[in-house]
Amino acid sequence: MALQLFDGKGTPLEHQRFTWRELVQKPISKLDDDAFTRVRIILMNGIESEAVRFQHLAARMSAPLRESLARIRRIEHHQETQVNWLLGADHSPLETTIGYEQVAVEVTAAIARTEPDPYVAQALRFAMLEDFDHLYRYSALMDRLTGMDPNNILQCYTDILPGRPTSVEHRSPENDLCEPWDKVKVQPLTKLHTLTLVSGEQQTHDYYMHYGPSFADPVARQVYAEIASIEEQHVTHYESLLDPSLSLLEQWLLHEANEAYNYYGCVQQESNPRIKAIWERMLDYEIGHFHHVAELLKHHEGRDPQEIFPDPLPDPFPYASNRDFVRKVLVDEVSMRKNGTRFVPLAEESQASIDYREHMSSQGSPTEIVACDYRWLPGTELNRKAAGF
C-alpha cells in the first residue's frame, strides 16, 4: 500500500518529545538481528543527520523560518539520537564501516533498479560500483588487521569482490558534477531517491572522517583517508543532481516527505517488532513535520503542497539482496569513467582526473596495498589452507 502523505496529520509537534531513557534504548543484537535491520538503522540515522544539517543551513538563510526550523530540528536531532543509539557497542568501528558500505551497495542498487530517470539511474549505478569496491577494501583491512570475517556483518546478502578500483575513483572536482534534474519535469520519486543518496553518502563521509583517526594502524588510517575522499566526491555527485532553483521551503518539504517515505519503508519491512514500533513512531512524527512545513509553504509562497506531491508516493524500495543486479552492473559498467557531467568509456576520461589521481597516489595507494591479492573466504584468509586455496 502506498504512503498517503495527505491522509493523516501525524503527531502534533507539541507531542513530539522524548526522555533520555527513551532516547537510549536496548540496542539490536549484532548476531541475531537481520543485517537489513542494521541497514535501516544506519540509513535512517543518515536521513535524520541530513535533516538536521539542512535545517541549520536553512536557518542561516531565512529569518522568518528560524523558529519553526529550531522546533523541528530539535525533534529531528532527538530522533537521530534514538535511531543511531540502536547500534550496540559490540559493533567495532570497522564492523560498523562494513555495515555502512552494505547500506551504500544495497540501498543504491535497490533505488537504481526503480529509478525512472535514465541519467539519474546511471549516476546511481556509477557510484554503487565504487561503494562496492570500498566494501572489498575494508573487508581486506578487517581480515588482515583483526582476523575477523566481514561476512558476519553482511550475513551473505552482499558479495565481497573488487568493484571499480578505489584508486581510479579519484576525480578532479569538476568531473564529479552531474546534470541537475528539472524540478518541474522530474518525477517525485527521483527527488526522493536523490535526497536519500545525498543523505547516505554524507553520513558515510562523516563517519569515516570521525573514526579514521581513531585507528592506530597507519594502513587503516590511510585507507580511511582515501575512501573518505571518495565519499566527499559522492556527496558532490548526488547533490549536483538536485535542481538548484528549488526554493528553501520546497527543499524543506522534500526533506520531510523523504523522511516519511523512508520510515514508511522501514515500517513495512522491519522484522524486529520492537524496532518496528520505533519506525512507526518516527513515521508519525515526520508526517507531523510534513504538514507543518506544508502550511509554511502555503503561507510564505502561496503554493499548494499537493502540486509538488500530487499522487500517493510509490512503494518504497525493497530491503533485500541485489546480488544479481550488482554483478551485472559490475560486468557491464566497471570501466566507465566521467568527463564533466557525462558518463563515458575508459578512453574518454578527463585528463584532469588522471593527473589529479596520479599525484594523490604518487606515494602509494593504501586501498591497493591493503587488498593486494585479497580474496574473501569463509572464516577469513587464514582459512585458506582448510578451504583448499
Binding site: 536496548k26 549484532k30 564492523e95 582476523g147 592506530a216 587464514l382 589452507k385
Partner: protein
C-alpha cells in the same frame, strides 16, 4: 627518536609539571566564592542506572543451530545426558576468533621486531628472532584451523560469530590498537601479546575440561598439544617482555 622511558621534560599530564596552574586548580577543592558547589550525592545513582539497563538487556546473541545431522546426533546424545555441547561450541568459536586475532597480532609484532632491530639490536633477547616469532604466528594459525575442524565435527558452523567470539573481538581491540601503533615499542607490543597469551592459555585449559566432560578423547589429546605450544608461547613472551623491560630500566 626519544625512547619512551627517557626523561625529556615533555609529559604535561601530571600536576607537578604545572606548578602555577595546579596551585590555582587545587583551590577549587576548597570551594570558590560565588561558584556553586557540585550537587552532593553518594554516587549510587550511577550504579542504579547501569543496573536498570542490565536488568532489561538482552544477551549479545544466541548460538546458531547445529548444521549437520551427524553433529546433531552426537550433540543430541550428550544433550540427553545433561551435557552442554553448546557451551563447548561457543568456547571453540571463541578460541577460533582469538587465534585468528592472535595470528594478526604476531604479524604486527614481526613488523615491530624488524623495525627495532634495524634501529638497534642492542637489548633484544637473543631468542627473539623473526624465525621464532614466525613459528608462534604459524602455530596460532594452526590452532585456529584445529578448532575450526572440531566445530565442524560437532556439527557446528565454524564461520558463525557466537556470543563468546563476539566478546573476544571487543576485548582484542585494545591489543590490536597497541601492536599496530607505530609509536609503541617492541616491549609495549609484547605486553599486549602477554595479555593475549595469558587469556589464550586459560582458554585452552577450559576447552580441555569441556572436552573431557564430553568424553571426546581425541579432541582432548589435540587440545593438550595446543596447550603445550601455548605454554611455550607464554613462557617466551613473558621472558622477552621482562628482559626488554629490565634492560630498559638498566637492571638487566
Amino acid at each position: 627518536m626519544v625512547e619512551s622511558t627517557q626523561i625529556a621534560m615533555k609529559n604535561r599530564t601530571g600536576l607537578q609539571m604545572s606548578p602555577t596552574q595546579s596551585k590555582e586548580l587545587l583551590e577549587t577543592l576548597k570551594g570558590v566564592e560565588g561558584i556553586a558547589a557540585p550537587l552532593s550525592g553518594d554516587g549510587h545513582a550511577l550504579a542504579e542506572m547501569r543496573s536498570a539497563y542490565c536488568a532489561e538487556a538482552d544477551p549479545l546473541g544466541t548460538m546458531p543451530a547445529p548444521t549437520s545431522l551427524k553433529g546433531v546426533a552426537k550433540n543430541g546424545a550428550k544433550m540427553l545426558t545433561g551435557k552442554r555441547p553448546q557451551v563447548l561450541l561457543d568456547k571453540l568459536a571463541e578460541r577460533a576468533a582469538f587465534e585468528r586475532g592472535g595470528t594478526r597480532l604476531y604479524e604486527g609484532i614481526l613488523v615491530k621486531l624488524g623495525s627495532e632491530a634495524r634501529a638497534s639490536a642492542d637489548g633484544i633477547p637473543e631468542d627473539l628472532t623473526e624465525t621464532v616469532l614466525t613459528q608462534i604466528r604459524d602455530q596460532e594459525a594452526e590452532h585456529f584451523r584445529l578448532v575450526t575442524e572440531c566445530i565442524e565435527q560437532l556439527g557446528g558452523d565454524p564461520t558463525a560469530q557466537t556470543p563468546s567470539a563476539d566478546l573476544v573481538g571487543i576485548e582484542s581491540m585494545g591489543l590490536i590498537q597497541t601492536v599496530s601503533n607505530p609509536s609503541t615499542t617492541l616491549a609495549q607490543s609484547l605486553h599486549a601479546a602477554l595479555a593475549a597469551e595469558l587469556i589464550d592459555h586459560d582458554g585452552w585449559e577450559l576447552l580441555i575440561k569441556l572436552a573431557q566432560e564430553m568424553g571426546d578423547s581425541p579432541m582432548v589429546s589435540r587440545f593438550n598439544d595446543a596447550l603445550r605450544e601455548e605454554g611455550e608461547h607464554l613462557r617466551r613472551v613473558r621472558s622477552w617482555y621482562e628482559q626488554l623491560t629490565l634492560t630498559d630500566g638498566g637492571v638487566a
